[in-house]
Symmetry: C2
């Protein structure tokens, strides 16, 4: 019998209970053991909830219960989630989490504690919601030298950008609508400024490149400066604009950033719209492989946590391999990174060509300005050239 | 030390050796053991090849070598691949294969032999080339009741259909070009008639629904009847045509077929072009998740085999879980399956509406005929109605 405790009975926590109860028979058959939710930790009461009797506000009940094998942490934030996780692992209980904040900040420490106590710290749900990506990186892409990861990792910003593209609307208006619909939070900063995506690309990069990429060192730009005018040019060029979390390992130099990118219709992530996520991994022998699905949402995220429960249950006493090993990666200076850029300016074509050399103009149909795509140049070069023409907008192109 | 033997030194077999040698250091670190290719089985000689000395034409050398832990079967066809696989498993050596013919026909038997001999029969590379799909089904989608699988599973036909769409060309011409480029074989029957895709959807369905789906019972149509006229209508409707391997589990009734489908731009598989593959899985709590990548090709396919080698090496003496359990699934009669259809006929709109009721006409710009999309109807109903209007073309719509 596998006894599970769920920390936090909010959206994801209640989803975990729902997934287990809905598919109990299938899960038990595949796990080779029976499963029950024994405790739910929450400070609130849930009168009338079918699992009301399982709710406790005392974590000691859970951590001191020798029958609990697996703890699911779905609290969000780092306090007290980090502390509770540490205590569970120290008690030899595996922890499965959807909490990217704890994983990005304390992942290596918690995996070390898990190993020392012969249990597992698993976090499939921390990136890409229900999309299997952590386990494929750890167990399927094992023969690969990962050369780059490019992800649409945040559903809120992808919803906003998709709306802006389809309706020609402005960022502020779409944000309001997203908030009204519950797709964006009252304080949307973590999403729209790219902080959420930065934690996620840091987690994926740490696994793929083998050591910690500190999310605080990832160059992070949000989508607040993207305008309907930018989309007008993109549309004319057969392109769209997406917020990417992106990292690459070029001859041992690791780059990472979160920023809006202009991409064309042949790009595998072009059709990832609305609240969906997509993650493109490029391996040196595998080439491109892409994972797509619901990047958030109660049941998809909960399903990923439950897949970790099943994995942990099959590996009681057996710490699993994770590509994310000890040590830190110092990210290389983006100034040297090279690519094409989309630029808008109120200067004329002559001034543009003086600053940028040969470019590819796009007729965006906006009076008094011009937009164009540059040749491949470094971030340092684009910065200097953009200043020369007092660029209104600069967006990376892929 | 993990000692590997590779059976068949053709495209995939030589790719396996290349992937191991290229990423040896990474592979050994992730596997926690050293690895070497000890034998290569082939009837041919390879003078000048760096691994020439490893080549033997005697399988007994391999199966009787107690140092060989893992055998990679990359021979193709069922004879002698099935026999060699069985003998390796009986000797307690895990077998990793890219050979869908053997997996589709003998999978359950070989997995049983593996279990009895405490080793593994793994076949990630048998479907979707380098795309991780077998392992995610077995290890990541474990909490899910899979309700449907829809895949573009054959690179050759996808290349042909993509060309037909882009260039407005006819099937026969594009097939010739594909053959000249090496994307289609001299005898292309297995690809263009859908037999290859049938084996693959049968393998995926057997894992997802838990028992053997016999590929010989899968309703299979190829792409030979798809014409440039069909694509003219598709284009006008903002759609395209793809060869799907598709199965679903509706209230315990399992349907499976291989057939061309007309799909629209919002479909997650719409942008899967050229020789790429894409596999969309719908789970009852996870919703849609899609896996995309190189469905064939030397190194991507070899990478999938090597991922199995690493998994097998980490699990010597430990048979892994596979969703594909004993027993057979009897497929339900497609006649009851319901969906929309695209139809072309030389009859007029009045005759069409008499036979089909309300339909949605598409102006394909072709004189003397009309094309339309029906409402949802059963396969039985469409057959009767199509006969009434002497339909020139009937394509399923999704």
């Amino acid at each position: 019998m596998i006894n599970v405790a769920v920390l936090g009975y909010g959206t994801v926590g209640s989803g975990i209970v729902e997934v287990i109860m809905t598919n109990k028979e299938l899960i038990e058959a595949r796990m080779g053991d029976s499963i029950q939710v024994k405790h739910i930790l929450d400070l609130r009461k849930f009168p009338g909830d079918p699992y009301e009797a399982l709710v406790t506000d005392d974590y000691n009940v859970i951590v001191n219960d020798p029958e609990v094998n697996i703890v699911c942490e779905a609290m969000g934030g780092t306090k007290p989630a980090y502390d509770f996780t540490r205590r569970a692992l120290e008690a030899g209980k595996s922890v499965c989490t959807s909490n990217k904040a704890v994983v990005a900040e304390f992942g290596p420490e918690l995996m070390k504690i898990a190993k020392e106590n012969n249990c597992n710290y698993l976090f499939e749900a921390s990136v890409g919601g229900g999309i299997p990506i952590i386990r494929p990186l750890n167990q399927s892409l094992t023969p690969e030298k990962v050369e780059s990861i490019t992800g649409i990792l945040n559903g809120t910003t992808n919803f906003i950008l998709t709306k802006m593209e389809r309706e020609g609307s402005d960022f502020a208006d779409v944000l309001k609508e997203a908030q009204a619909k519950g797709y964006a939070e009252a304080d949307p900063t973590a999403d729209i400024e790219g902080h959420d995506a930065a934690r996620k690309i840091a987690i994926l990069s740490s696994i793929a490149y083998g050591k910690t990429v500190d999310f605080k060192t990832v160059h992070t730009e949000g989508i607040t400066k993207i305008s309907s005018e930018d989309f007008a040019y993109a549309k004319k060029a057969g392109a769209t604009i997406k917020l990417f979390g992106k990292s690459s390992d070029v001859d041992g130099k690791v780059y990472a950033l979160v920023a809006p990118f202009m991409i064309f219709s042949e790009h595998p992530l072009y059709a990832v719209n609305d609240v969906f996520n997509g993650i493109l991994v490029h391996g040196n022998t595998l080439n491109d492989v892409m994972f797509y699905g619901s990047g958030a949402g109660k049941l998809p995220t909960a399903s990923a946590v439950v897949s970790d429960i099943i994995e942990a249950a099959k590996n009681l006493g057996n710490p699993l391999y994770c590509g994310w090993q000890e040590g830190e990666i110092t990210l290389s200076d983006l100034a040297d990174a090279k690519r094409k850029f989309f630029v808008r300016t109120k200067k004329d074509a002559k001034a543009v060509e003086e600053a940028f050399g040969k470019v590819c103009f796009i007729d965006g149909g906006i009076a008094g300005e011009c937009g164009f795509i540059t040749e491949v140049m470094s971030e340092k070069e684009i910065k200097a050239a953009a200043e020369k023409v007092e660029a209104v907008s600069v967006i990376r192109v892929e």
